[in-house]
Protein backbone atom coordinates (compact mmCIF):
# COMPACT_ATOMS: atom_id res chain seq x y z
CA UNK A 1 0.00 0.00 0.00
CA UNK A 2 2.40 2.66 -1.16
CA UNK A 3 -0.26 5.35 -0.91
CA UNK A 4 -0.18 5.41 2.86
CA UNK A 5 3.54 5.99 3.02
CA UNK A 6 3.65 9.49 1.63
CA UNK A 7 4.21 12.26 4.11
CA UNK A 8 1.95 14.92 2.66
CA UNK A 9 -1.83 14.73 2.54
CA UNK A 10 -4.24 17.04 0.77
CA UNK A 11 -6.94 18.50 3.01
CA UNK A 12 -10.11 18.00 0.97
CA UNK A 13 -11.87 20.80 2.82
CA UNK A 14 -9.15 23.34 2.16
CA UNK A 15 -7.96 22.45 -1.34
CA UNK A 16 -9.72 24.65 -3.89
CA UNK A 17 -8.23 22.88 -6.89
CA UNK A 18 -6.00 25.73 -8.01
CA UNK A 19 -2.98 24.46 -9.90
CA UNK A 20 -0.19 26.25 -8.00
CA UNK A 21 1.23 23.07 -6.43
CA UNK A 22 0.89 21.08 -9.63
CA UNK A 23 2.91 23.67 -11.56
CA UNK A 24 5.54 23.97 -8.80
CA UNK A 25 6.09 20.22 -8.27
CA UNK A 26 9.65 19.41 -9.37
CA UNK A 27 8.82 15.85 -10.40
CA UNK A 28 5.48 16.74 -12.05
CA UNK A 29 3.75 14.35 -9.68
CA UNK A 30 0.59 16.36 -8.97
CA UNK A 31 -2.64 16.35 -10.97
CA UNK A 32 -5.73 18.36 -10.04
CA UNK A 33 -8.92 16.39 -10.58
CA UNK A 34 -12.33 17.58 -9.50
CA UNK A 35 -10.90 20.48 -7.48
CA UNK A 36 -8.51 18.29 -5.55
CA UNK A 37 -4.74 18.09 -5.91
CA UNK A 38 -3.40 14.53 -5.75
CA UNK A 39 0.17 13.32 -5.98
CA UNK A 40 1.22 10.32 -8.06
CA UNK A 41 2.78 7.95 -5.53
CA UNK A 42 5.37 6.77 -7.99
CA UNK A 43 6.70 10.24 -8.75
CA UNK A 44 6.41 12.06 -5.41
CA UNK A 45 9.71 12.51 -3.55
CA UNK A 46 8.08 14.22 -0.52
CA UNK A 47 10.19 17.33 -0.97
CA UNK A 48 7.44 19.57 0.41
CA UNK A 49 7.39 22.11 -2.42
CA UNK A 50 3.59 21.76 -2.76
CA UNK A 51 3.18 22.52 0.93
CA UNK A 52 5.35 25.58 0.64
CA UNK A 53 3.55 27.12 -2.34
CA UNK A 54 -0.03 26.31 -1.24
CA UNK A 55 -1.89 29.49 -0.36
CA UNK A 56 -4.77 27.65 1.29
CA UNK A 57 -2.79 25.59 3.78
CA UNK A 58 -4.28 22.50 2.16
CA UNK A 59 -1.12 20.37 2.14
CA UNK A 60 -0.48 18.89 5.55
CA UNK A 61 2.45 16.85 6.84
CA UNK A 62 1.57 13.44 8.22
CA UNK A 63 3.23 13.84 11.62
CA UNK A 64 2.82 11.77 14.77
CA UNK A 65 0.22 12.76 17.35
CA UNK A 66 0.63 13.07 21.14
CA UNK A 67 -1.48 9.93 21.44
CA UNK A 68 1.29 8.00 19.67
CA UNK A 69 3.57 8.67 22.65
CA UNK A 70 1.21 6.73 24.92
CA UNK A 71 1.79 3.55 22.92
CA UNK A 72 5.28 3.27 24.43
CA UNK A 73 6.64 2.70 27.93
CA UNK A 74 9.56 5.03 27.34
CA UNK A 75 9.79 7.81 24.75
CA UNK A 76 12.89 9.47 23.33
CA UNK A 77 12.91 12.72 21.32
CA UNK A 78 15.75 13.04 18.81
CA UNK A 79 15.79 16.63 17.62
CA UNK A 80 17.08 17.55 14.20
CA UNK A 81 19.99 19.95 14.61
CA UNK A 82 17.79 22.46 12.83
CA UNK A 83 15.63 22.65 15.98
CA UNK A 84 18.46 24.37 17.89
CA UNK A 85 18.78 26.81 15.00
CA UNK A 86 15.22 28.03 15.47
CA UNK A 87 16.03 29.92 18.64
CA UNK A 88 18.40 32.86 19.08
CA UNK A 89 21.30 32.99 21.51
CA UNK A 90 18.96 33.72 24.41
CA UNK A 91 18.00 30.05 24.27
CA UNK A 92 20.84 27.60 24.68
CA UNK A 93 20.54 24.09 23.08
CA UNK A 94 20.47 22.70 26.64
CA UNK A 95 17.30 24.72 27.30
CA UNK A 96 15.73 23.40 24.12
CA UNK A 97 16.41 19.82 25.23
CA UNK A 98 15.03 20.60 28.69
CA UNK A 99 11.85 22.09 27.20
CA UNK A 100 11.39 19.05 24.95
CA UNK A 101 11.30 16.83 28.03
CA UNK A 102 8.74 19.15 29.62
CA UNK A 103 6.51 18.63 26.57
CA UNK A 104 6.15 14.96 27.48
CA UNK A 105 9.11 12.98 26.19
CA UNK A 106 10.82 10.82 28.79
CA UNK A 107 14.24 11.75 27.48
CA UNK A 108 16.00 13.60 24.70
CA UNK A 109 18.92 12.40 22.65
CA UNK A 110 21.21 14.79 20.82
CA UNK A 111 22.45 13.55 17.43
CA UNK A 112 25.15 16.14 16.69
CA UNK A 113 27.93 13.85 17.91
CA UNK A 114 26.60 11.09 15.65
CA UNK A 115 26.86 13.54 12.75
CA UNK A 116 30.51 13.98 13.63
CA UNK A 117 30.93 10.19 13.75
CA UNK A 118 29.37 9.80 10.31
CA UNK A 119 31.73 12.46 8.92
CA UNK A 120 34.62 10.30 10.15
CA UNK A 121 33.04 7.12 8.77
CA UNK A 122 32.50 8.82 5.40
CA UNK A 123 36.16 9.85 5.31
CA UNK A 124 37.18 6.27 5.98
CA UNK A 125 34.80 4.98 3.31
CA UNK A 126 36.08 7.47 0.71
CA UNK A 127 39.70 6.54 1.37
CA UNK A 128 38.95 2.87 0.70
CA UNK A 129 36.39 3.17 -2.11
CA UNK A 130 37.31 2.41 -5.70
CA UNK A 131 34.49 4.44 -7.24
CA UNK A 132 32.41 5.20 -9.18
CA UNK A 133 33.15 8.86 -8.52
CA UNK A 134 31.94 11.19 -7.22
CA UNK A 135 30.34 9.62 -4.16
CA UNK A 136 27.07 11.23 -3.08
CA UNK A 137 25.74 11.80 0.45
CA UNK A 138 22.47 10.12 1.48
CA UNK A 139 21.59 12.65 4.19
CA UNK A 140 18.68 14.23 2.29
CA UNK A 141 15.97 11.57 1.81
CA UNK A 142 14.25 13.58 -0.93
CA UNK A 143 17.52 13.52 -2.84
CA UNK A 144 17.81 9.74 -2.44
CA UNK A 145 14.26 9.36 -3.82
CA UNK A 146 15.13 11.62 -6.73
CA UNK A 147 18.14 9.42 -7.51
CA UNK A 148 15.97 6.28 -7.40
CA UNK A 149 13.44 7.78 -9.79
CA UNK A 150 15.38 10.06 -12.08
CA UNK A 151 19.01 8.97 -11.77
CA UNK A 152 18.94 5.20 -11.13
CA UNK A 153 22.41 4.93 -12.68
CA UNK A 154 23.79 7.01 -9.85
CA UNK A 155 22.73 4.55 -7.13
CA UNK A 156 26.27 3.06 -7.00
CA UNK A 157 27.50 6.61 -6.27
CA UNK A 158 25.50 6.84 -3.03
CA UNK A 159 27.60 6.46 0.12
CA UNK A 160 26.27 3.29 1.82
CA UNK A 161 26.51 4.79 5.30
CA UNK A 162 23.31 5.15 7.30
CA UNK A 163 22.17 8.66 8.30
CA UNK A 164 23.05 10.05 11.76
CA UNK A 165 19.37 10.19 12.78
CA UNK A 166 18.83 6.48 12.09
CA UNK A 167 22.14 5.43 13.66
CA UNK A 168 21.46 7.50 16.77
CA UNK A 169 18.01 5.95 17.14
CA UNK A 170 19.42 2.45 16.66
CA UNK A 171 22.13 3.01 19.27
CA UNK A 172 19.88 4.72 21.84
CA UNK A 173 17.12 2.11 21.60
CA UNK A 174 19.67 -0.61 22.23
CA UNK A 175 21.08 1.22 25.28
CA UNK A 176 17.70 2.18 26.79
CA UNK A 177 16.47 -1.38 26.40
CA UNK A 178 19.53 -2.67 28.28
CA UNK A 179 19.50 0.04 30.96
CA UNK A 180 15.80 -0.17 31.74
CA UNK A 181 15.23 -3.84 30.99
CA UNK A 182 12.60 -2.99 28.37
CA UNK A 183 11.68 -4.78 25.19
CA UNK A 184 13.08 -2.62 22.33
CA UNK A 185 9.53 -2.41 20.93
CA UNK A 186 8.36 -0.73 24.13
CA UNK A 187 10.62 2.24 23.45
CA UNK A 188 9.35 5.00 21.17
CA UNK A 189 11.95 6.95 19.19
CA UNK A 190 10.59 10.20 17.74
CA UNK A 191 12.46 12.52 15.42
CA UNK A 192 11.80 16.26 15.55
CA UNK A 193 11.90 16.93 11.84
CA UNK A 194 12.53 19.98 9.67
CA UNK A 195 10.97 18.41 6.56
CA UNK A 196 8.41 16.00 5.14
CA UNK A 197 11.03 13.92 3.33
CA UNK A 198 12.32 12.57 6.66
CA UNK A 199 8.77 11.64 7.71
CA UNK A 200 8.48 9.57 4.55
CA UNK A 201 11.90 8.02 5.16
CA UNK A 202 10.61 6.69 8.49
CA UNK A 203 7.50 5.10 6.98
CA UNK A 204 9.19 3.90 3.79
CA UNK A 205 12.93 3.74 4.45
CA UNK A 206 15.58 3.35 1.77
CA UNK A 207 18.71 1.36 2.59
CA UNK A 208 16.95 -0.11 5.61
CA UNK A 209 14.29 -2.78 6.03
CA UNK A 210 12.59 -0.85 8.81
CA UNK A 211 13.37 2.55 10.27
CA UNK A 212 14.87 2.77 13.75
CA UNK A 213 12.52 5.69 14.37
CA UNK A 214 8.86 5.26 15.31
CA UNK A 215 7.54 8.61 14.16
CA UNK A 216 8.18 12.30 13.79
CA UNK A 217 6.89 15.61 15.07
CA UNK A 218 7.52 18.73 13.03
CA UNK A 219 9.66 21.57 14.30
CA UNK A 220 6.86 23.93 13.25
CA UNK A 221 4.24 22.30 15.51
CA UNK A 222 6.56 22.14 18.54
CA UNK A 223 8.04 25.60 18.14
CA UNK A 224 5.28 27.49 19.98
CA UNK A 225 5.00 25.06 22.91
CA UNK A 226 8.81 24.94 23.26
CA UNK A 227 9.12 28.71 23.32
CA UNK A 228 6.40 28.95 25.94
CA UNK A 229 8.06 26.28 28.05
CA UNK A 230 11.49 27.95 27.88
CA UNK A 231 9.99 31.24 29.02
CA UNK A 232 8.30 29.54 31.97
CA UNK A 233 11.24 27.42 33.03
CA UNK A 234 14.82 28.48 32.34
CA UNK A 235 16.14 24.98 33.18
CA UNK A 236 18.80 23.47 31.00
CA UNK A 237 19.88 19.89 30.30
CA UNK A 238 23.56 18.94 30.01
CA UNK A 239 25.08 19.47 26.59
CA UNK A 240 28.56 18.01 27.01
CA UNK A 241 27.92 15.58 24.15
CA UNK A 242 26.76 18.29 21.73
CA UNK A 243 29.29 18.58 18.93
CA UNK A 244 29.72 21.93 17.23
CA UNK A 245 31.29 20.20 14.25
CA UNK A 246 28.21 18.04 14.02
CA UNK A 247 25.87 21.01 14.43
CA UNK A 248 27.13 22.50 11.18
CA UNK A 249 25.48 19.57 9.42
CA UNK A 250 22.16 21.47 9.65
CA UNK A 251 23.42 23.82 6.95
CA UNK A 252 24.45 23.07 3.38
CA UNK A 253 28.23 22.80 3.42
CA UNK A 254 28.24 21.56 7.01
CA UNK A 255 28.72 17.90 6.26
CA UNK A 256 31.91 18.45 4.27
CA UNK A 257 33.17 21.12 6.68
CA UNK A 258 33.96 18.46 9.27
CA UNK A 259 35.55 16.00 6.89
CA UNK A 260 39.22 15.42 6.25
CA UNK A 261 38.71 14.81 2.53
CA UNK A 262 38.46 18.29 1.04
CA UNK A 263 37.96 17.20 -2.56
CA UNK A 264 34.24 17.76 -2.24
CA UNK A 265 31.37 19.92 -3.36
CA UNK A 266 28.04 21.12 -1.97
CA UNK A 267 25.03 21.28 -4.28
CA UNK A 268 22.16 23.40 -3.01
CA UNK A 269 18.54 23.31 -4.07
CA UNK A 270 16.64 21.14 -6.52
CA UNK A 271 17.39 23.23 -9.59
CA UNK A 272 21.14 22.94 -9.05
CA UNK A 273 20.86 19.28 -8.09
CA UNK A 274 19.28 18.49 -11.48
CA UNK A 275 21.93 20.56 -13.29
CA UNK A 276 24.82 18.81 -11.54
CA UNK A 277 23.32 15.30 -11.49
CA UNK A 278 22.59 15.40 -15.23
CA UNK A 279 26.30 16.04 -15.68
CA UNK A 280 27.42 13.39 -13.22
CA UNK A 281 25.33 10.95 -15.24
CA UNK A 282 27.15 12.08 -18.39
CA UNK A 283 30.48 11.33 -16.71
CA UNK A 284 31.61 14.78 -15.63
CA UNK A 285 32.67 15.61 -12.05
CA UNK A 286 34.60 12.34 -11.84
CA UNK A 287 37.53 14.21 -10.33
CA UNK A 288 35.39 15.11 -7.29
CA UNK A 289 35.44 12.59 -4.41
CA UNK A 290 32.33 13.57 -2.51
CA UNK A 291 29.17 15.58 -3.09
CA UNK A 292 26.72 16.61 -0.41
CA UNK A 293 23.50 17.67 -2.06
CA UNK A 294 20.24 19.01 -0.69
CA UNK A 295 16.85 19.45 -2.30
CA UNK A 296 16.34 22.49 -0.03
CA UNK A 297 18.39 25.56 -0.94
CA UNK A 298 20.44 25.85 2.27
CA UNK A 299 20.18 22.31 3.55
CA UNK A 300 18.02 21.28 6.53
CA UNK A 301 17.71 24.80 7.98
CA UNK A 302 15.57 25.60 4.93
CA UNK A 303 13.25 22.61 5.45
CA UNK A 304 9.53 23.15 4.90
CA UNK A 305 8.53 22.35 8.50
CA UNK A 306 10.68 25.00 10.18
CA UNK A 307 9.71 28.37 11.60
CA UNK A 308 12.82 30.56 11.62
CA UNK A 309 13.77 31.55 8.09
CA UNK A 310 16.91 29.94 6.75
CA UNK A 311 18.97 33.11 7.12
CA UNK A 312 17.95 33.61 10.73
CA UNK A 313 18.50 29.91 11.42
CA UNK A 314 22.05 29.98 10.08
CA UNK A 315 22.83 33.07 12.14
CA UNK A 316 21.38 31.45 15.23
CA UNK A 317 23.56 28.39 14.74
CA UNK A 318 26.68 30.47 14.34
CA UNK A 319 25.82 32.25 17.57
CA UNK A 320 25.40 28.93 19.35
CA UNK A 321 28.93 27.68 18.58
CA UNK A 322 30.76 29.85 21.14
CA UNK A 323 28.15 28.97 23.78
CA UNK A 324 29.06 25.31 23.35
CA UNK A 325 32.80 25.52 22.79
CA UNK A 326 34.31 24.05 19.63
CA UNK A 327 35.46 20.78 21.17
CA UNK A 328 35.86 17.62 19.16
CA UNK A 329 33.61 15.10 20.89
CA UNK A 330 34.37 12.08 18.79
CA UNK A 331 37.47 9.96 19.08
CA UNK A 332 38.87 8.49 15.89
CA UNK A 333 39.41 5.19 17.71
CA UNK A 334 35.68 4.93 18.38
CA UNK A 335 34.85 5.52 14.71
CA UNK A 336 37.33 2.83 13.68
CA UNK A 337 35.97 0.23 16.06
CA UNK A 338 32.38 0.92 14.98
CA UNK A 339 33.48 0.69 11.33
CA UNK A 340 34.92 -2.75 12.03
CA UNK A 341 31.57 -3.77 13.54
CA UNK A 342 29.82 -2.55 10.35
CA UNK A 343 27.74 -0.32 12.59
CA UNK A 344 27.38 2.37 9.89
CA UNK A 345 26.47 0.06 7.01
CA UNK A 346 23.24 0.16 5.07
CA UNK A 347 21.00 -2.72 6.04
CA UNK A 348 19.26 -3.05 2.68
CA UNK A 349 19.99 -2.42 -0.95
CA UNK A 350 18.82 0.82 -2.61
CA UNK A 351 16.58 -0.12 -5.50
CA UNK A 352 16.05 1.84 -8.71
CA UNK A 353 12.51 3.11 -9.25
CA UNK A 354 12.74 4.41 -12.81
CA UNK A 355 9.69 6.06 -14.30
CA UNK A 356 7.61 3.71 -16.39
CA UNK A 357 8.31 3.82 -20.12
CA UNK A 358 5.39 4.57 -22.45
CA UNK A 359 5.08 0.84 -23.17
CA UNK A 360 6.99 -2.34 -22.47
CA UNK A 361 7.39 -3.24 -26.12
CA UNK A 362 9.75 -0.97 -28.06
CA UNK A 363 7.57 -0.71 -31.18
CA UNK A 364 4.54 0.08 -29.09
CA UNK A 365 6.47 2.70 -27.11
CA UNK A 366 7.62 4.33 -30.35
CA UNK A 367 4.03 4.40 -31.64
CA UNK A 368 2.93 6.11 -28.43
CA UNK A 369 5.86 8.53 -28.62
CA UNK A 370 4.73 9.52 -32.14
CA UNK A 371 1.18 9.88 -30.89
CA UNK A 372 2.45 12.11 -28.09
CA UNK A 373 4.45 14.27 -30.51
CA UNK A 374 1.35 14.66 -32.69
CA UNK A 375 -0.69 15.63 -29.63
CA UNK A 376 1.87 18.30 -28.79
CA UNK A 377 1.11 19.86 -32.17
CA UNK A 378 -2.55 20.09 -31.23
CA UNK A 379 -2.03 21.42 -27.72
CA UNK A 380 -1.60 25.20 -27.20
CA UNK A 381 1.76 24.92 -25.34
CA UNK A 382 0.60 27.60 -22.95
CA UNK A 383 1.29 25.33 -19.98
CA UNK A 384 -1.70 26.89 -18.21
CA UNK A 385 -2.34 23.71 -16.19
CA UNK A 386 -6.12 24.32 -16.32
CA UNK A 387 -6.49 20.68 -17.39
CA UNK A 388 -5.03 19.59 -14.05
CA UNK A 389 -1.64 18.48 -15.44
CA UNK A 390 1.24 20.89 -14.83
CA UNK A 391 1.97 21.52 -18.52
CA UNK A 392 0.98 20.51 -22.06
CA UNK A 393 3.69 17.87 -22.35
CA UNK A 394 2.57 16.13 -19.18
CA UNK A 395 -1.03 16.22 -20.42
CA UNK A 396 0.08 14.62 -23.70
CA UNK A 397 1.90 11.95 -21.70
CA UNK A 398 -1.17 11.29 -19.57
CA UNK A 399 -3.35 11.04 -22.71
CA UNK A 400 -1.18 8.44 -24.46
CA UNK A 401 -1.03 6.46 -21.23
CA UNK A 402 -4.83 6.41 -21.33
CA UNK A 403 -5.36 8.36 -18.11
CA UNK A 404 -7.16 11.41 -19.53
CA UNK A 405 -8.56 12.76 -22.78
CA UNK A 406 -7.58 15.49 -25.20
CA UNK A 407 -10.87 17.25 -24.45
CA UNK A 408 -9.52 17.96 -20.94
CA UNK A 409 -7.61 20.82 -22.57
CA UNK A 410 -9.74 23.99 -22.35
CA UNK A 411 -8.21 25.38 -25.54
CA UNK A 412 -9.02 22.26 -27.52
CA UNK A 413 -12.55 22.32 -26.14
CA UNK A 414 -12.95 26.00 -26.98
CA UNK A 415 -11.74 25.36 -30.50
CA UNK A 416 -14.27 22.57 -30.90
CA UNK A 417 -17.08 24.80 -29.61
CA UNK A 418 -16.14 27.57 -32.00
CA UNK A 419 -16.04 25.16 -34.90
CA UNK A 420 -19.44 23.87 -33.95
CA UNK A 421 -20.84 27.41 -33.70
CA UNK A 422 -19.44 28.58 -37.03
CA UNK A 423 -20.77 25.42 -38.68
CA UNK A 424 -24.18 26.23 -37.24
CA UNK A 425 -23.98 29.87 -38.37
CA UNK A 426 -22.86 28.73 -41.83
CA UNK A 427 -25.95 26.53 -41.92
CA UNK A 428 -28.22 29.46 -40.94
CA UNK A 429 -27.06 31.56 -43.89
CA UNK A 430 -27.83 28.91 -46.44
Amino acid sequence: MPYRTHAIVTDKEKCVGCVTCSMACPTKAIRVRGNLAQADEELCIDCGTCMEVCRYDAMRPRTSSPADLKKFKHTVALPSLTLYAQFGKEFHPGQVLHALRRLGFDETYDISWMCEMVMGATDAYLSESTGPWPKISVTCPALVRLVQIRYPDLIPHLVPIETPRELAAKLRRRRVAAERGLDPAEIGMFFITPCTAIIHSIVAPVGLDASHLDGAFSIAELYGPLLKSMKEDAGSDPVDSVSVRGLRWAMAGGEISGMRNANSMTVRGLHDVIYVFDRIEAGTFQSVDFIEAYICPDGCVSGGLTVAGRYTAQRNLQEAYPLLGDQATVKEEKVRSLLREHFFDFEAEIRARPVRPLARDLREAIALKREKDALMERLPRKDCAACGAPDCETLADDIVRGKVQLSDCVFVRLEALEKERSAKQGGDHD
Partner: protein, 162 residues
Amino acid sequence: MKPPNPANRPGGDEIKDEVLYSETFRIVGNDFEHGGEVATRVKAILKQLGFPTDTIRRLSIANFEAEMNVIMYADEGTLELAVLPNAVRVTVSDRGHGIPDIEWAMQEGHSTATPEMRARGFGAGLGLPNIRRNSDEFNIESTVGVGTILRYVVCANVTAGS
Protein backbone atom coordinates in the same frame (compact mmCIF):
# COMPACT_ATOMS: atom_id res chain seq x y z
CA MET B 1 38.33 2.16 -37.93
CA LYS B 2 37.85 -0.34 -35.17
CA PRO B 3 36.18 -3.63 -35.96
CA PRO B 4 32.96 -4.14 -34.02
CA ASN B 5 33.41 -6.23 -30.96
CA PRO B 6 30.69 -8.88 -30.92
CA ALA B 7 31.69 -9.85 -27.39
CA ASN B 8 30.18 -6.59 -26.12
CA ARG B 9 26.78 -7.43 -27.46
CA PRO B 10 24.19 -9.00 -25.24
CA GLY B 11 23.82 -12.55 -26.48
CA GLY B 12 25.99 -11.74 -29.48
CA ASP B 13 22.85 -10.80 -31.42
CA GLU B 14 23.19 -9.47 -34.93
CA ILE B 15 22.30 -5.76 -35.03
CA LYS B 16 19.17 -5.46 -37.15
CA ASP B 17 19.49 -2.44 -39.38
CA GLU B 18 15.83 -1.45 -39.35
CA VAL B 19 15.30 2.13 -38.21
CA LEU B 20 12.18 2.20 -36.06
CA TYR B 21 12.51 5.80 -35.00
CA SER B 22 14.85 8.63 -35.86
CA GLU B 23 15.25 12.21 -34.86
CA THR B 24 17.88 14.77 -35.81
CA PHE B 25 19.18 17.48 -33.49
CA ARG B 26 21.15 20.54 -34.52
CA ILE B 27 24.34 21.48 -32.69
CA VAL B 28 25.85 24.96 -33.07
CA GLY B 29 29.62 25.39 -32.88
CA ASN B 30 30.92 27.43 -29.93
CA ASP B 31 27.47 27.41 -28.29
CA PHE B 32 28.73 26.46 -24.84
CA GLU B 33 25.61 27.93 -23.25
CA HIS B 34 23.48 25.07 -24.58
CA GLY B 35 26.21 22.43 -24.31
CA GLY B 36 24.81 19.09 -23.20
CA GLU B 37 21.19 19.84 -24.06
CA VAL B 38 21.03 17.47 -27.01
CA ALA B 39 22.42 14.63 -24.89
CA THR B 40 19.80 15.42 -22.21
CA ARG B 41 16.95 15.41 -24.76
CA VAL B 42 18.09 12.12 -26.24
CA LYS B 43 18.26 10.64 -22.75
CA ALA B 44 14.65 11.68 -22.08
CA ILE B 45 13.50 10.01 -25.31
CA LEU B 46 15.34 6.77 -24.56
CA LYS B 47 13.84 6.66 -21.06
CA GLN B 48 10.33 7.02 -22.48
CA LEU B 49 11.01 4.22 -24.92
CA GLY B 50 12.06 1.97 -22.05
CA PHE B 51 15.73 1.32 -22.81
CA PRO B 52 17.68 -0.33 -19.95
CA THR B 53 19.44 2.15 -17.67
CA ASP B 54 22.88 0.82 -18.61
CA THR B 55 22.24 1.44 -22.32
CA ILE B 56 21.03 4.95 -21.56
CA ARG B 57 24.05 5.63 -19.37
CA ARG B 58 26.55 4.56 -22.03
CA LEU B 59 24.75 6.53 -24.72
CA SER B 60 24.48 9.61 -22.51
CA ILE B 61 28.23 9.63 -21.90
CA ALA B 62 29.00 9.14 -25.61
CA ASN B 63 26.41 11.70 -26.76
CA PHE B 64 27.63 14.32 -24.32
CA GLU B 65 31.24 13.90 -25.48
CA ALA B 66 30.24 13.95 -29.15
CA GLU B 67 28.03 17.02 -28.69
CA MET B 68 30.79 18.90 -26.88
CA ASN B 69 33.25 17.96 -29.61
CA VAL B 70 31.04 19.68 -32.20
CA ILE B 71 30.61 22.73 -29.96
CA MET B 72 34.34 23.00 -29.32
CA TYR B 73 35.82 22.16 -32.72
CA ALA B 74 33.24 22.60 -35.48
CA ASP B 75 31.15 25.36 -37.04
CA GLU B 76 27.94 23.37 -36.85
CA GLY B 77 26.69 19.84 -36.85
CA THR B 78 23.86 17.41 -36.28
CA LEU B 79 23.27 14.44 -34.02
CA GLU B 80 21.03 11.84 -35.56
CA LEU B 81 19.43 9.35 -33.25
CA ALA B 82 18.30 6.09 -34.87
CA VAL B 83 16.45 3.53 -32.78
CA LEU B 84 16.95 -0.01 -34.14
CA PRO B 85 15.13 -3.14 -32.93
CA ASN B 86 17.94 -4.12 -30.57
CA ALA B 87 20.33 -1.17 -30.60
CA VAL B 88 20.66 2.58 -30.81
CA ARG B 89 22.78 4.14 -33.53
CA VAL B 90 24.01 7.71 -33.28
CA THR B 91 25.54 9.64 -36.16
CA VAL B 92 27.20 12.95 -35.42
CA SER B 93 28.24 14.88 -38.52
CA ASP B 94 29.85 18.27 -38.45
CA ARG B 95 31.14 20.92 -40.80
CA GLY B 96 34.48 22.21 -39.55
CA HIS B 97 38.24 21.73 -39.50
CA GLY B 98 38.15 17.96 -39.49
CA ILE B 99 40.73 15.83 -37.70
CA PRO B 100 44.14 15.59 -39.48
CA ASP B 101 45.36 12.52 -37.60
CA ILE B 102 42.58 10.29 -36.32
CA GLU B 103 44.97 7.68 -34.89
CA TRP B 104 46.55 10.38 -32.78
CA ALA B 105 43.21 11.85 -31.64
CA MET B 106 41.93 8.42 -30.64
CA GLN B 107 44.66 8.01 -28.02
CA GLU B 108 43.88 8.99 -24.45
CA GLY B 109 45.40 12.29 -23.39
CA HIS B 110 45.73 13.64 -26.92
CA SER B 111 43.87 16.89 -27.33
CA THR B 112 44.01 20.07 -29.36
CA ALA B 113 41.83 21.94 -26.88
CA THR B 114 42.63 25.59 -26.30
CA PRO B 115 43.44 26.89 -22.80
CA GLU B 116 39.88 28.34 -22.63
CA MET B 117 38.37 24.92 -23.28
CA ARG B 118 40.66 23.36 -20.70
CA ALA B 119 39.61 26.01 -18.22
CA ARG B 120 36.04 24.78 -18.71
CA GLY B 121 37.09 21.28 -17.76
CA PHE B 122 37.41 19.88 -21.28
CA GLY B 123 40.44 18.95 -23.34
CA ALA B 124 41.72 16.08 -21.23
CA GLY B 125 41.98 14.10 -24.46
CA LEU B 126 39.42 11.57 -23.29
CA GLY B 127 36.50 12.47 -25.56
CA LEU B 128 36.84 10.13 -28.52
CA PRO B 129 38.34 7.22 -26.54
CA ASN B 130 35.47 7.61 -24.08
CA ILE B 131 32.89 7.37 -26.88
CA ARG B 132 34.58 4.24 -28.24
CA ARG B 133 34.76 2.69 -24.78
CA ASN B 134 31.03 3.18 -24.24
CA SER B 135 29.87 1.87 -27.61
CA ASP B 136 29.69 -1.55 -29.26
CA GLU B 137 30.45 -0.27 -32.74
CA PHE B 138 32.47 2.81 -33.47
CA ASN B 139 33.42 4.47 -36.72
CA ILE B 140 34.98 7.82 -37.52
CA GLU B 141 35.68 9.50 -40.83
CA SER B 142 37.16 12.93 -41.17
CA THR B 143 38.27 15.20 -44.02
CA VAL B 144 40.47 18.15 -43.14
CA GLY B 145 38.75 21.43 -43.91
CA VAL B 146 35.40 19.69 -44.51
CA GLY B 147 34.27 17.95 -41.35
CA THR B 148 33.89 14.77 -39.37
CA ILE B 149 31.33 11.96 -39.33
CA LEU B 150 31.21 9.94 -36.17
CA ARG B 151 28.99 6.89 -35.95
CA TYR B 152 28.52 4.65 -32.93
CA VAL B 153 26.11 1.93 -31.88
CA VAL B 154 25.12 0.81 -28.42
CA CYS B 155 23.34 -2.54 -28.21
CA ALA B 156 20.31 -3.10 -26.06
CA ASN B 157 17.82 -5.82 -25.60
CA VAL B 158 14.81 -3.71 -24.72
CA THR B 159 12.33 -6.41 -23.88
CA ALA B 160 14.86 -8.33 -21.80
CA GLY B 161 15.95 -5.19 -19.99
CA SER B 162 12.57 -3.86 -19.00
